[in-house]
């Protein structure tokens, strides 16, 4: 157990290190000299040279890389060219909508998918099983920006049930901000429910095939009671696993959803950064999101370990 934890931690550190390396390489691959790219075409050669020195671009690539690593480990991801503030600060100021959007949409997806998934497994092969799965897959097959646009157009603007866009504006209190996340969360949640539904259904089928469930069934327990007594008890496991699995999906979805609803989150930030060629912000977002992904997956694995006594490492 302890050696497993240690192994996982070492593995995680290596992965984070690789993430940093990949992010470093990626931005260096951009064609053209970063300094002249940053300054624009009007810059004089002297200005370009002085920025190169300031950014350390005149030093050997290995030195640049080591400096970058050292800075990143101290939480310094560089300075945004557009905001002229540290990248970490910019990202932190944009974290709230993204985090809550991810949480709420996960919640929406779980609320939709878990009961249907269990029910579909219980009635496997039935019309209900097939219909629910196909419907969920269909919802996931429509590009999420299209779903979002249609919701925004009809549910927000026409019916006025939800705010159409934004995050409440100047000095909005917490409740107002969260209220602005409801429609985006539903959009993203619906899109992501298919994966959870399929996962829940598959896990339930696994559990229903387990020996102890068969035994219970053999003892004359009705199928409904089997599901309620044994299977549901284990429903926590797929939920934990799915959180790790859908994290990347949620972040990708958040990029598009935040754009549709004009939410000031990290997704919108990175799209703007791309359009403004704000490379430090692109790089910083990649690093932070990837590191979060690694952490979330480690956490879910550990939770899994705590919940499911059957898992042996």
């Amino acid at each position: 157990m302890r050696s497993y934890l240690l192994r996982r931690l070492v593995g995680m550190i290596i992965v984070v290190f690789l993430v940093l390396t990949l992010a470093f390489i990626l931005v260096r691959l951009a064609p053209g000299d970063p300094a002249s790219l940053l300054l624009g075409p009007d810059a004089t050669p002297e200005e370009v040279q002085s920025l190169r020195v300031r950014l350390g671009l005149d030093r050997p690539i290995l030195v640049q890389y080591l400096t970058f690593l050292a800075n990143a480990l101290q939480g310094d991801l560089g300075r945004s060219l557009f905001f002229d503030r540290p990248v970490t600060e910019v990202l932190a100021s944009r974290a709230e909508p993204t985090i809550f959007l991810a949480l709420f949409s996960l919640l929406v997806a779980l609320v939709i998918a878990t009961p249907i998934g269990i029910w579909a497994a219980y009635r496997r092969g039935s019309v209900l099983d097939q219909t629910s799965i196909t419907t969920a897959m269909l919802a996931a097959s429509v590009p999420s920006f299209l779903t979002g646009l249609i919701f925004q157009r009809y549910l927000a603007t026409d019916l006025g049930w939800f705010p159409a866009s934004g995050y409440g504006g100047v000095g909005a209190d917490f409740g107002t901000r969260m209220w602005h996340l409801v429609l985006p969360s539903i959009t993203l949640g619906i899109t992501n429910s298919a994966l959870i539904l399929r996962f829940t259904r598959a896990s339930m089928l696994d559990i229903l095939g387990e020996d102890y469930v068969r035994t219970a069934r053999a003892k004359g327990m009705t199928e409904r009671r089997v599901v309620l007594r044994h299977a549901l008890k284990n429903a926590g496991i797929p939920i934990i696993t799915v959180v790790g699995l859908t994290f990347a999906l949620l972040i990708s979805g958040a990029v598009v959803t935040e754009r549709v609803f004009n939410l000031p989150g990290m997704g919108n930030l990175v799209v703007n950064a791309v359009l403004r060629r704000d490379y430090p912000v692109i790089q910083g977002t990649l690093i932070v999101v990837a590191t979060l992904y690694v952490l979330v997956n480690l956490l879910t694995d550990l939770l899994y370990l705590a919940v499911d006594k059957r898992v042996k490492y």
């Binding site: 690789l18 993430v19 990949l22 064609p31 897959m137 920006f145 646009l149 990347a248 972040i251 990708s252």
Partner: protein, 285 residues
Amino acid sequence: MAGSSTTAAPGFRKLMFQRPSVAVALAVFVAVVAACFLVPALGLAEPGGMSVRNRLTPPGGEYPLGADAFGRDVLGRLMVSGQTSLGIGLGVAVLSSVVGIAIGLIAGFFRRADAALSRLIDAMMAFPDILLALSLVAIFGGTMLNVILALSIVYAPRIARIVRASTLVIRELPYVEAARALGTRTPTIMVTHVLRNILSPIMVQATFIFAYAMLAEAGLSFLGVGVDPRTPTWGIMVNEGRQYIDTAFFLILFPGIAIALSVLSLQIVGDGLRDALDPKLAKES
């Protein structure tokens, strides 16, 4: 269906199509592909030029699916755009499979490379697809090839992971060990024994990647960093139709249906393949 022969030869067809939806989905997908590639090639449909005065003509008559803001026939354009959209999906599925297989085989076969490659796979998977593709396209520019490359980088690790896991199992199988003992060279073993055995799960995964790549392309087009609009895709068509949501809803409806239908049918076919190729799940569902 090369892989099917070894895994589930006798009941493959029966298992694959035990749910009628799989057959329907396969038929739909084949029809979409045929419409996009065969119909224009056979000259059965004229994509037609611009006729600005007919812009936003509703579906019917001369324009079965309406005309867009330039007065171009939506049906003809759907077929041409489909070639790019499906091409991107297929390109990503093939390229990510090839790269994934190579990485996975090496990681699975050579213990020394395994640790490093596995971590690399983990690290690559930590980047969400749209985010990584967005950054790559931003850096290298939005051409069809770059979009395919970016998305392949995103999805290759998924294949690599499956290949590695399967390879680890298969390399310990008695007949593979026997082959090695007989002095068969490692690359030969990799290709003849391992590759043949893992082709099925890869095909399942590649089908899903095909679908995800088409969705991701639509997302990139929406964010304004997709492929050049002069080689349109369904994603670009939906995005262009956005501003006409009130005056000409059909402009987002039809390409939207095209995407959803293709992605959905690919996923159902992928499920069918999995049912047929993975006996454990197939038995239970």
